[in-house]
Symmetry: none
Subunit: 368 residues, 2 copies
Amino acid sequence: MNSAIVTIGDELLGGYTIDSNSAWIGRKLIDIGVRTVWKSTVPDQKNEIVNALAIATEKADVVICTGGLGPTRDDVTRDAYCEFTGAELEMDEQYLKKLRARFERRGVDMPESNRSQGLVPDIGSVIPNPKGSARGLSCSIDGGWICILPGVPAEMKVMMEETILPELGQMSTNDLFVINIRTTGVMESKLHDLLNSTMVGSPVSVAFLPSFSGVDVRLTFEDKAALEELSRKVYDLAGKYIYAEDWVTLEESVGESLREKGLTIALAESCTGGLLGDRMTNIPGSSDYFLGSVVCYSNEAKMNLVGVRKKTLESFGAVSEETAAEMAAGVRQKFGAHIGVSITGVAGPDGGTEAKPVGYTCFGVYFQ
Amino acid sequence: MNSAIVTIGDELLGGYTIDSNSAWIGRKLIDIGVRTVWKSTVPDQKNEIVNALAIATEKADVVICTGGLGPTRDDVTRDAYCEFTGAELEMDEQYLKKLRARFERRGVDMPESNRSQGLVPDIGSVIPNPKGSARGLSCSIDGGWICILPGVPAEMKVMMEETILPELGQMSTNDLFVINIRTTGVMESKLHDLLNSTMVGSPVSVAFLPSFSGVDVRLTFEDKAALEELSRKVYDLAGKYIYAEDWVTLEESVGESLREKGLTIALAESCTGGLLGDRMTNIPGSSDYFLGSVVCYSNEAKMNLVGVRKKTLESFGAVSEETAAEMAAGVRQKFGAHIGVSITGVAGPDGGTEAKPVGYTCFGVYFQ
């Protein structure tokens, strides 16, 4: 079973809002074996929405559509749904009562514009919205299924989880399995060449997903056994670059092994300005192993705060293995940690030289 | 002039990667008066990419397409471009030489798969990529214009800014003007009520765009004079919340005023773990005013590194105004900065109490 996602809204096209809804929906669908094959974003215009629904229903068994269900006049998704399905709108007086009551409880009269949210099409069914006034719509059409949800993430998510995903989970034959293998310290192209021989023979679909912290190798296939066989081969060929599976981050897996071994860590950062500490402390419970860090941008700071020797800075420079080593040793002692880690580099845009161009970076690890 | 954006990649459909590229592109295009009318995301499949290009060129004057230009076998955008434009691929031996040389400088042999990045179509022109090996492609077709760029954000952005946007800026009739006014420290609804009276009368379209660091008030209109008139009113009514215009970030504007005034700053971070330092040092040239920071997660670190008194921690706790004040004073002295700033809070998920729930945060500023 596969799906198409249509997100509606001028703010998405103008880039004022980043469309994180469709990514969230895509992940949730994969988890129940539904593969998203197409996504589109269209403006708040009836004909554009109708066109998108036409393409989407042609491409996929399930169409999830978000946005444009609000009370204001630029919300036209309900009308587009009617035009596409041939439905007529009727007023759901009972819901309108509830809606009025909800506003009264908040001590305000219901704005007239909210009346529109009481309108329901006579084709398909209404999807309850426990977090807002914009209810969703769904209907089967030519053997496919269309769901319309509000664009507000909190409302969309609870409606997906309470109504759509359970229903889809039953429909889905769950014929799709995924193994996401995370690597770091190896270029995409090199990884590709390492694994090429195994991929060529295999029916499993393999995607290389480079990101800031490494390259994910994602294996997707209908047959779990074949998937796991290829996965084993990936470990055989590229094992030394693999740090985790699924969505475990680099900092999570580092944190796990520190906790397992009962070790603590402290950082001395220069060019990264605190980024490494930020990443490490984003992990809940990181205070078990992360003692702290010093961001020493200037030479003075490197000397005064983590005890780098003046002589070292003078003879080798702030960006040098020698300085990195003393930073790691110094910060480790300063915090009384088991491990000290340091980064010093030429962050740019200026400050690069022939010998040490922008991007030139030295690391230090002190472990006793 | 209007545009369509096509983003390519299974990782976008599966939701493993959030498509922030298209939002960035949409904003940049609006700035030069180009309105994005359609967006679509398709898998790494030639026919799907070709279909998307067909729809996009029908809907818009300019089509910006990102992704699928990498060296691996799942990168097929180049082939799709050829099929759509009727171009043939030829090997650019000269570029291949350069590419090999680039790898050699890094002391590695060029992986065979990178050869594919030397292939260029015989229709259209190549867009240089100063940050990577995947070059872009562009061509005019039926009076429209197609640009193909890599999906790696850093590469896509520099290619947009150095090549695409300047060319488009000349083509664009620029019939759309935008003023983006950035506020912080005020709720969207309060800001809305503050400005309501002026908006009602005005033909200018006003959007409120809440984000992590504040609420942007975005004014869009065809008539520049009317736009600037409304902008002045926004300043009159909400001036004290405004820190910048366009896309200037909070840390950029803070950095600017520090540089203007010739002041230096040092940070003591607890719950933020280095995030503030990271944000401040993301600004080129920040070393002019940013001396460094100390991330002191533990009480020991707060005492040993920034001189918070044991007594203060015992009587008021690590998350208290008193501790924040001593952290700010201590770190300022430690780095010899003009200004010391501190943050200490209950980051959660655990550690919250009745009196100091998760999210409770204290700040300190020491300025002499």
